[in-house]
């Protein structure tokens, strides 16, 4: 855990945190979305460094391929392109910065405290098979509940985003 791995970690941490700061501060929301892309990629790299290979692939597929595209769609559908900078005003900068810096101090102080005892031997091995086995055995109930939740979110999102057209009579489901 010396040398190149440390260098890779620092590069990934700098990319992640720098992009997150850009997400928080950039005035243009489209630039903020692009910065969010780099933050997600940095987090995926950090996952690989702590031997979470399956999670890194999931992060790239779901966050970068799904959530970020959704956010981009929402940006383009919900604001006029010409006024995209005006659509994102910023208030309460100083108190929010004070709160966040104080919280970061507390969290960082907790993180470097000796309360967490690391295990002596850190191993690196593929985790995909183990995660799949655990999802089908020990965590089967949360897995199924998550599938029901995804179905509910799918139906709910489709229902919510459907435009209301009062001029077209809605087909009645009760009567044949």
């Amino acid at each position: 855990m010396k040398g190149p791995v440390d260098l890779v970690f620092y590069v990934l941490a700098a990319v992640t945190v720098g992009s997150a700061i850009l997400v928080a501060t950039l005035p243009n929301i489209i630039y903020a979305a692009v910065a969010l892309l780099f933050a997600f990629f940095g987090v995926a790299g950090l996952y690989i460094l702590v031997s979470a290979d399956f999670l890194a692939a999931t992060q790239v597929l779901v966050y970068v391929g799904g959530i970020l595209v959704l956010i981009m769609f929402a940006v383009f559908l919900s604001s006029r392109i010409s006024s995209v900078e005006l659509s994102n005003p910023v208030h309460f900068r100083l108190p929010a910065a004070a709160i966040c810096l104080a919280l970061f101090g507390v969290l960082a102080h907790t993180a470097v405290s000796p309360a967490f005892i690391p295990k002596p031997q850190v191993t690196y091995q593929p985790t995909t098979a183990e995660i799949g086995e655990l999802l089908m055995t020990r965590y089967l109930l949360p897995f199924e509940v998550a599938s029901v939740l995804l179905l509910a979110a799918l139906i709910g999102a489709a229902l919510l985003s459907r435009p209301d057209r009062p001029d077209i009579p809605r087909p009645d489901m009760e009567e044949p």
Binding site: M1, V5, D6, A13, V17, A20, I21, V23, A24, I29, A32, A33, A39, V43, L46, V50, A52, F54, L55, T58, V62, Y63, G66, I67, L70, I71, F73, A74, V75, L77, S78, S79, S87, N88, V90, H91, R93, A96, A97, C100, L101, L103, F104, L107, A108, T110, A111, V112, F116, K119, V122, I131, Y139, P142, A146, L149, A153, A157, L160, S161
Partner: protein
């Protein structure tokens, strides 16, 4: 690279997300802040799972967090579209119709 460095990165990510949530008034940008906070929590789960715990449960938990984030993003963006169709803007300040 050890546990404390990963936790510091997670804390920084969390604070950036919190700052985004507190300062932005565009609902989509607030959602970006929520995603940053969820990523920070995931980093903590995975770091503890790798450095402290013998089990892989932290990674399983992170998988479920990603599932919840995807569902949340889909529903939230549908709500934003309805808000934009109703009020013509996605500023969170304008959605105060429930106030008496």
């Amino acid at each position: 690279m050890a546990l404390d460095k990963m936790l510091v990165v997670g804390a920084a990510l969390f604070c950036c997300g919190l700052y985004t949530i507190l300062t932005r008034r565009n609902a989509v940008a607030v959602l970006m802040g929520v995603e940053l906070v969820l990523n920070a929590a995931n980093i903590n789960f995975v770091a503890f799972s790798h450095y402290v715990s013998r089990m892989i449960g932290g990674q399983i938990f992170a998988v479920f967090v990603i599932v919840l984030a995807a569902a949340e993003a889909a529903v939230a963006l549908a709500i934003f579209l309805r808000l934009f169709a109703t009020t013509g803007t996605v500023e969170v300040d304008t959605a105060d119709h429930l106030r008496g």
